[in-house]
Amino acid sequence: MTSAGWSLVETAARLLTRNEREAVLGDLVEAHESVWQGLLGVLGLVFRREAALWKSWRPWLAGFGVAMPSSFLLMGASLSVSWSYLTLRCPELLQKSTLTLGSGSLVLLCKALLLIGWSWTGGFVVGSVSRRTLWASAALYFSPCLFCLSRFRVESLSRFCLLLFLLPAIWGVHQGLRLSRLKLSSAIVLALSVTLMMLPAWSSAGQHWWSPPRWTLNWALCWPAWYLVAAAWSGKRHVWLIDRLDSVFQGGRHGE
């Protein structure tokens, strides 16, 4: 192997864990494999490792159950917060609405806190449920943002007001990676706060006959908070449940 080719193989092998990298590179040297064969071997192993992660339910839940749908809904919530803020700042808009400055401020505060709560809990679940596929969850989080940013056309608002949820969400992911589970008391307080702040929206119907009522969309954002309560409450039972789910998913794969 040439030194340039070898460094290419070594770079690809960085995607493996330290011990595995050591063993695989040593095997390639010992077998006098060509650069091409070595590179294919290493990339094949990396691909198999990644594919194995997706045999579990966790990355699917984190990516397609939380990250992607939350991203769309939280952009809507971010827009709502921005619009409420704009209404308060502009006397003409405030006059047109049925709100006073005091009640408008309260609504804005509630919406902002709700946005932070939803974003943080969603991020926490994404970070804690599937750490090793975080890159995929992040891609599923950001791709709807890029799509909506490119199509956003509201003159009075900056397009970046769609992304108000990002900071608390990233903070939540960071905490989820670090802690993996909340204390039961904290989780209950968080979930109850988020649910109670959602109450005013429960009675409102959808804007059109074909659109779902707002509370259904709100529940789609709220369930991560209750998932955290369930995870904290179950403790060992939660671990048992996850192990059972993992074994169910892997049960049919003996002899592969």
Partner: protein, 109 residues
């Protein structure tokens, strides 16, 4: 029951004894079957068999002919031996009466 490749891997490792590690097992499988054995298949199967408790692996010493890189040493556990034996017995039983087996028996006698 074991899969075909799992059986090959356990049997090769058992045959190599103290010298069973990634590259040696791969070489043994390729030499015996005449088929290419990819590093990806080898290492993911090693992990799977270790999770099932059929193998035990650990990092060995680094050697100069490997560019100073350590080996992943392999030892077949008692459970692994039982699983391989069970696979072999099943293959032997199911093959009984098959044309290629009876022809071979006749040509041998």
């Amino acid at each position: 029951m074991l899969g075909e490749f799992e059986y090959l891997l356990i049997t090769s490792a058992a045959g190599l004894g103290e010298n069973a590690y990634g590259a040696a097992i791969r070489e043994e499988i390729e030499a015996t079957t005449g088929r290419k054995c990819s590093i990806g298949a080898l290492y993911t199967t090693l992990d799977r068999l270790e999770t099932k408790g059929l193998l035990k692996t650990w990092m060995g010493d680094a050697t100069p002919q490997r560019g100073g890189r350590a080996k992943r040493m392999v030892r077949v556990t008692a459970r692994g031996v039982r699983a391989a034996k069970e696979f072999y017995d099943v293959v032997t039983r199911v093959s009984h009466g098959a044309s290629w087996v009876t022809e071979r028996t006749r040509s041998g006698t």
